[in-house]
Amino acid sequence: MTAITVNGKIYEVASEARTPLLWVLRDELGLTGTKFGCGIAQCGVCTVHVDGVAVRSCQMPVGTVGQRAVTTIEGVGSTTVGARVQKAWLDLEVVQCGYCQPGQIMAAAALLAANPDPDDNAIDAAMSGNLCRCGTYVRIREGIKHAARS
């Protein structure tokens, strides 16, 4: 058994240490807000925070999480930056189909926590690994700027 901390709560995990964190979150802990997209860290939809850093949970073996705090889309609203990003997303109606948005919000919140006033270059660099097939990129960029200002 491995113990991991997710959204401030400690969970005992029965999965093998090499199991991807994403599978544990969704299948074992029932935290299905984090989505499965490509499984090879090419789409960003499974992004969570590990000690505040945006990480693709499909690539992270649960055994390597250790003592670090995992935050998912279910918990990010309880952080100041996360709440601001979520509000900006609602204010600007960023979402279209929504499937990629948990990942987009997690990536945006990690960016703003590290860089409170990112320029377009910094936004491009941090968000390029998060795909959106509906093409909401323009609204995502606006959402990040809106959250930075609020």
């Binding site: 693709r56 949970s57 690539q59 390597t64 390029s128 690994g129």
Partner: protein
């Protein structure tokens, strides 16, 4: 006057002849693969220590089938004798050489297209001497100058293993070598010069572990076939043993004990982890042909055998190379501007998710770019090949990097490789679209 000219000519020819003889002589009269060890090697039968051949002690009591499979894994026959997506050991894998393309033959026991009718003597003759049952000669793409060191028992254990396989009917493909390389009989001369046709001779002055390692590395594993440079006659240049070579376009790095270009600063644990799992923390991931060697051979060896290989490798003298000392950790934003917008854009979208903006690896240690030799190689060849073809095992739970060769043009692959080496390596590569095209063709 005429006589003088004639004499001068004769003298010139004589000098040229001596020079050629000298060069060829130096190639022929070179030290054996483990002559660096000194001591007085003895015949296997005269060696008093535990046998360096066969299976390790742990498997001594295993059944014949298990032992045969193990010896076949030691020699890694499967990697070359299997076509991509083809039946294991049925051959057909292409090797693109400077002389043309050669295809490996079928080793399954099919009587018609495989080796089903071969006698023990014929099999020994092929593996030790490079001679086919019909008397024709193999090209040294088949590493018989290494396999010649294998004991008769081990060669026949491999044959026994091959005969347990399901026969596959698959005709061998002819090579397309042009003249004079299509003259197989020339290989008879080559063999006289470069195949010692001698079994492994243990060195009593060295430890049993070292001798086992020497046998695994030189006879079975044939590491030098890729990692030792070749001379003009395409024989291994043992004076620069393990100084680095090329395998299917990939750079087979220097694995001598040189601390900068080689593996001299790797700990025994680093080497053992790399060989048995294909990854050592901060050292990189085995890719290309080395990934196959790990998957089909090294990962199947016992811990004691991996330990023996490490002991032997660390005893190989340093051969200096020209690779730079790897750069240290990188900041998350580059300190100097890298004028490569295309490379940067591709890195942002495709690479940073796993490798992180610091190159330290985002989700797992296998994704670390900093400090890794491939990224600190100004030729950029292996980095580009990993980007083209991907890396890592295709087995569940093991990390794997997808290949981007079908998604990006040669210009784009060159740009992102140059960006990665500039950003995280000691010196930037300067690959062009033409270079990437050649790397695609070599593989």
């Amino acid at each position: 006057m005429k006589r003088k000219t004639l004499l001068t000519l004769v003298a010139l020819v004589a000098v040229a002849g001596v020079a050629v003889l000298g060069v060829v002589g130096r190639m022929v009269l070179q030290p054996g693969p483990y002559a660096f060890a000194g001591g007085r090697p003895v015949a296997l039968s005269a060696y008093r220590g535990p046998s360096p051949t066969g299976v390790p002690a742990e498997l001594a009591l295993a059944d014949t089938v298990t032992r045969g499979a193990y010896v076949a894994s030691m020699a890694d026959c499967q990697a070359c004798h299997t076509a991509p997506g083809g039946q294991p050991f049925a051959g057909g894998r292409a090797f693109v050489l400077p002389f043309g393309t050669i295809y490996t033959p079928n080793l399954t026991p099919d009587p018609e297209t495989g080796i089903g009718n071969w006698t023990d003597a014929q099999f020994l003759n092929a593996v030790h001497r490079g001679i086919a049952p019909d008397g024709s000669r193999y090209y040294p793409a088949f590493p018989y100058p290494s396999y010649t060191l294998l004991s008769d028992e081990d060669v026949l254990a491999i044959k026994a293993h091959l005969f347990t396989l399901k026969p596959v009917k698959q005709a061998n493909k002819p090579n397309n070598f042009g003249f004079p390389y299509n003259q197989r009989w020339l290989m008879a001369i080559w063999s006289v010069l470069f195949n010692p046709n001698e079994r492994f001779r243990p060195v009593p002055e060295r430890s049993p572990e070292w001798n086992r390692g020497a046998y695994l590395v030189e006879a079975a594993g044939h590491c030098g076939e890729c990692h030792t440079p070749r001379n003009l006659m395409q024989a291994l240049d043992q004076r620069r043993k393990f100084g680095g070579g090329v395998a299917e376009g990939w750079t087979a790095y220097n694995i001598s004990s040189d601390t900068v270009s080689g593996v001299g600063d790797w700990s025994a644990a680093d080497l053992a982890a790399y060989l048995s799992t294909g990854h050592a923390r901060g050292r990189g991931v085995a890719s290309g042909p080395m990934a196959e060697a790990v998957e089909l051979s090294l990962s199947r060896l016992t811990k004691s055998d991996i330990g023996a290989i490490v002991t032997y490798l660390r005893s190989v003298p340093a051969v200096k190379g020209d690779l730079p000392v790897p750069a240290g950790p990188a900041p998350s934003t580059p300190q100097t501007v890298i004028d490569n917008p295309v490379g940067k854009r591709i890195f942002e979208g495709n690479c940073a998710s796993c490798h992180a903006w610091t190159g330290a690896g985002a989700a797992r240690e296998e994704a670390q770019l900093t400090g890794v030799r491939t990224v600190n190689d100004p030729s950029g060849a292996n980095a580009a090949l990993m980007i083209l073809h991907g890396s890592g095992a295709g087995t569940p739970y093991r990390p794997a990097m997808p290949g981007f060769g079908k998604a990006y043009s040669n210009d784009e692959i060159a740009a992102v490789t140059n960006y990665v080496t500039a950003r995280f390596g000691a010196r930037a590569s300067k690959l062009t679209a033409g270079d990437i095209g050649r790397l695609r063709d070599a593989n």
